[in-house]
Each structure stands twice: as C-alpha cells, then as structure tokens.
Subunit: 375 residues, 2 copies
C-alpha cells in the first residue's frame, strides 16, 4: 500500500507501480500470469483509460493478460473478486490485483462531478445533486427512522481517527472527538466535514494464488475464504428502504455461506465508511447489530481494537483515506496484515478471520471478502 | 446487436438494453447469474461510470454480480474473456456479456481526445498526436518496410463495404472502390477517410453457459473453443517493430493451442480493421499470410465471402461500424450467427470454425476468440 496523501503530485502509474512492486516482492513471486487493475475515475480526471496495458508496461510485464475492472468506489473490491474467479478458472496460477485512484490536483467541482459518475447521470447527476448530498439523505432517513442522534453516529469517525493514529500510511492522523465532528463545517445537512472521507491519492496491491502454489512461497498463507459481489438498483430513488443496503446483505450472506461462518466468527472487520452513517449501517447490514442499533456497538467500545468487533483497525475510509477505486484493495491488504500478525501498532490480537465490505455508488455494488488464517 | 448508427440520440442504457434483451430472448434463458459490461469511454463522454449496476437495473436484474471491464477498443473482447473465466470458475452457470459505446452527439475533438485515452496520456496523448495519427505512422512504416502500395491496402475497406451491403445493421452500406478510398479526404497521411472506421453508437450482447447447461436451451450450441487476452507495451514508441502486433501473435497462438487448431481450419474470420492497414496486418499476425504479404489474399479474392478466408463477413469495423468498446462483442455475435447458419445474406457456406480478433489501443491489448459449431 502506498500512503494515502493529497497533493503528492505523483502519477497514477507511479502510485500503482509502488504498490504492485511491494506486493510482488513481499510475495516473493517472479511470474505473474495476469494483472487485474481496479480504478474508477481515470478517464474523467486523468484522460487515461486502458490501465491494464499501462500498468503491465510500467511493471515491465507486458505480454500478460490484463483486466481493468470498474464498479465506482467498489472497483478495487470487484477487481479482487474477478481475480479470484480467474484463479478458480484454472487458467492462471499467480495473479496480481492492484487498484489505484488519484483525486488530488483537481478542483472540488471536478472531483465532485467525477464521483457522481457512480450514480445515473441522466436521471440523477444531471439534477445537480452531489454524492454527499445523496448520503446526507440516507443519514437523515436513518436518524429519523431509528431515532438515532448525530452524536451517536459521530462516534464512528472518532473511532477511525483514533485507529489511524497508529497507521503511518493513513491520510488523517489526528485525534478528533464527537464534539469536533459535530462542530466541523457543514457539507450537506446533516453530514459535516468529519463525517466524510476526504479526497486522496493511493494504490494498493495483493498477490493471489491457489493454496498449493501459495504454500511454495510462504508457510503462512492467508486464505481468501469467500469473495462475493452483489448489486442493487443503481439509484437511491429506486429503493424502497434507503437505510439498508440490500446489496450489502446479499453479498455478505453469500460470503458467510461460502466461508461456512457467521458474523460471530469475524475477528477483524473493514467496512466502507465513506460517510459516518454508512459505517454504522454496515455494522447492521453485515449482521453485527440489529437494524437501528449499530451505534450501540460504538457506545460500548465494541468496535475498538480491543473490542468484540474491531472495525477499521487502520483508520478506515475516513482516516486511512479513500482513494475511491483503490479502497477495496486497501481493506483486503490490511486484513492480510492483521491475520499475518504484521499490522504493527494497528495489530488486533488473536485474529483468525477478517471480513471486508466495499461499496460502489449508493450501495449499488457491494463486495464482501472473508480472509482466514491457515493454521 | 443493435444497428450501428450515428445520431440516433439513444442513451447508453437504451442501446445496451436492446441488445441484452435480444440476446436473452434468443437464448431462451430466464436466469442470468452475472452480467459483464464492456465499454471504453462512458466516463469521459457521458460522465457515467458504474455501468454494471446501471445495466443490471435497466434490465430489471439488480442483485446479480456485475462487472464492468475496460481495455480501450478491446473492452468488449476482454469482457467476453472475463465472462468465460467466470463460467470456468464454477461459480456461475449462465452469464450475459454485453458491450456498448455511444460516440455520436459529441464534437470530433471530444471523441478524438476520448479515443486517445487508449494511449499514454502523460507521454503520448499530451503531445497532441491523435489515434489516427499513430495508425498513420504504422501504415507508413508497413508500406515502406514491405513495399506495399496504398492501392493494395485499400482493397481491405473495399471488401468490407461490399460485405456490409448485405448487413441491415451496418453503419455504412455503400459500395466503394479502391479509387474512392484513394481519393477520399486525407485524415492523417497516408490514411484517408475511407481507410478509417467511423464514429458510431451500438451495443451487442451474448449469453454464455457451460456446454451441459447450454444443451438444455438449444440443440445447436456454439462452443467457445478458445478465449485469450494478451498485452503489449501501451505505447507505440516502445515497440521495436511497429508493423507487427506482438500481442496479436501471442493471443492467437495461445488460442490456436487452446482450441487445438491452426489458421487453416478457420472458416470465417473477424479482424479489428479500425484502419485499413490493421486489417492487413491482422491477416499476417494471425497466421493467414506471411508478414508483408497480407494484401495478396485480397488480390486473389481470398477474403471475400466465397474465398478461402472469408473475413469481416458483416462489414467489419470499417463498414458494419466500430462503436469502440462494443466491437469485440459484435464480432463474437456475428461469428455465432455464421456458425448457426443464421447470417442471412451475409452467410458464408459451410462454416464450422470462426475466429475473432479484437485490438485495444495501438495493439496494446488483443483478444482472440475461437468459436466452433458443435455437431
């Protein structure tokens, strides 16, 4: 993983290559049979598509099959899933999955327009509503429906900022309290600045291989026990119940079945908290709390690294940073570090199973990945 | 397949849904386990990403996993390959692959900038060179190196226009001669207007399933006998030999090995003739002619529908049209019609095996698909 930063001035390629080289070196592999690249906005912001061949060339690995996968903010998560299918096809042995996004160096209106490409341009984006505006509607509905206060929800970013203090690659390493969140500048009522993830540049990469091949390179492989993708309507206005992400429920239910576990067996959790309320909703939609009661976990300190459901242990989207198309791979890489007991000061003790949830658009695509330590 | 047109005013979604519904109805399937969407330029031109969830929703099939795959002009071909891997993974039974591009309704500079996203923005596109300019360099090099005349190469688009006369879905149904090509307006020396594919809107879709499942829906399934992707350097300037596409050779060699055949067994061929010279080079790189002698096949009428290597039987990119990210799926759909003996006036007699080559960027990504009639 590269550090997540804004204003580094580094190119898409530089970022990707740094993460990919680190992953390849860490895995100790020479051969890579194919390369999967997750990214959302490079066409719009960098006037650059065809990232598969671009990155293969930059890595000196032109020739191999390459796949650029896009699903808005879930691009990285979907790239991991597509790569896992590639391995299961039996056509390839070792694959690289990397994801990158560069959001700095552009005006806020440019990035805002770019992010809205996750929603329907014709019917929604063209009205002028922004992505944070749509999430503000979700927050308002959630707070009203379940009688939950902003104070309660604000505990989510507070917890993320606390965790990011120990992550040298985090974009925002600053302790904040609930009052800081509530007094930060209003972005889209009720969401304030500290309810929202920021704009950042970053890339993350992992190497995947079937278990028998992975064992040639490491004595402690981490198993990808489940990888699922589910979709929902593209647009928020098409949903009867905006305060639940059905795709999140679908993807996680299939993943639990695939891995043969339930939420109770998850030791470390990464959720897609692009906005504070989404972090809380994820706790519920993934089965860690009843609908409307996600904040109770926060009240009780259960999401802290020493709690029952350690969540976003490296800072999550809010504080580690959210280079949108790359975040899904950051999550998986962070879980792998946790399970390998290599998470440094972010380490959660005794982790055997990790789960990552990545969300594209307004809950329109959701991926779930379950990782398991192989003993 | 939708007809390829310019100026229809139809949206990306309308185009995709028309093709997808036709494919699903033709296949007679109810269930679709996942949806693969190929597209290149929607972010830049339509300010729309996240086409997976968009199209699943438009088809009333939200919930299924969706994958948007991008590899410039080879987006459709790579989407077919990714879907084939999905089937081989054993995780899904019936998949829909659709690809769409909308290029009309924008200025030529806008589309020209969009197409250059297939090349390296930082090092190449930013210099102002255009995509047709790069292909003109290839044409000049090819003509010089092999002492081939423009007259000889111009036979390729002439043949495509001839074939398109019989294809009601073709964008350009107009007979042209070699003299017409040579006298058409100069675009980038030596390439003239009739050497170049045009800008069009279109969508194509297919349904794939493992053989045992396909047999429940049809007595005459068409086998996808090979599906390969290869890459090369992203940029033309990085190539020692610009008049051969190494990725084309790599992808086709792997495909021939996978299908257990050689070029001599191909009865009908679809090649990526975005520019006339690329059609000729494809005949060579795919093994149908020695390097530098591709035009001899045209001299001898071998590429006509009654020739030895019937090529671009529906008109190819030049005359059927080239909605860039969709063309790779058009090719596969056209081959399927040929092998099913449902190609109407475009029918080539006695087809058992078809091959399609799709090219992304300046030969930077190439896919090969081999289809075979199952007797």
């Amino acid at each position: 993983m590269t550090p997540v930063t804004a204003g580094s001035g580094r190119s898409l390629t530089d970022l990707f290559v740094e993460a990919a080289r680190e992953a390849i070196d860490d895995a100790g592999v020479d051969k890579v049979d194919s390369i999967y690249v997750g990214n959302m906005m490079s066409g719009f912001l960098q006037r650059q598509e065809h990232l598969g061949a671009l990155m293969a060339t930059a890595l000196g690995r032109e020739g191999v099959p390459t796949y650029r996968v896009e699903a808005a903010c879930a691009s990285g998560g979907v790239a991991v899933n597509a790569a896992a299918k590639g391995l299961l096809s039996g056509l390839e042995d070792i694959v690289l999955v990397g994801a990158v996004e560069k959001m700095s160096g552009y005006t806020t209106p440019e990035v805002t327009a770019g992010l809205m490409m996750a929603e329907d341009y014709v019917k929604v984006a063209s009205t002028g509503v922004t992505f944070v505006g749509l999430n503000a509607m979700i927050a308002r509905e959630y707070m009203h429906k379940y009688n939950v206060t902003h104070e309660s929800i604000a505990q989510f970013p507070v917890m993320c900022h606390q965790n990011a203090l120990d992550n040298p690659k985090a974009q925002f390493r600053k302790k904040v309290g609930v009052e800081d969140v509530l007094r930060s500048p209003l972005v889209a009522d009720p969401l304030r600045l500290l309810d929202c993830s920021g704009m950042g540049d970053g890339a993350a990469a992992i190497v995947l291989a079937p278990k028998d091949i992975a064992r040639k390179f490491t004595d402690s492989p981490i198993e990808l026990a489940a990888s699922t993708v589910a979709s929902d309507t593209l647009s928020l206005y098409q949903r009867p119940n905006p305060s639940t992400f059905e795709a999140s429920r679908r993807a996680s239910e299939r993943a639990y079945a695939m891995a043969g576990i339930g939420p109770g067996e998850v030791d470390v959790l990464e959720v897609h908290d692009a906005f504070s309320v989404l972090g809380v909703m994820a706790l519920e939609d993934l089965g860690f709390a009843e609908k409307g009661s996600g904040t109770k976990l926060l009240d009780d300190g259960e999401c802290a690294r020493d709690g029952r459901v350690p969540t976003n242990s490296f800072g999550g989207l809010k504080a580690r940073g959210h280079p949108v198309g790359a975040s899904g791979v950051y999550q998986v890489a962070e879980l792998a570090l946790q399970l390998k007991n290599e998470a440094g000061k972010c380490q959660v003790s005794g982790t055997e199973v990790g789960l990552a949830q990545s969300v594209g658009g307004i809950g329109s695509t959701v991926t779930t990945h379950i990782l398991r330590r192989v003993n």
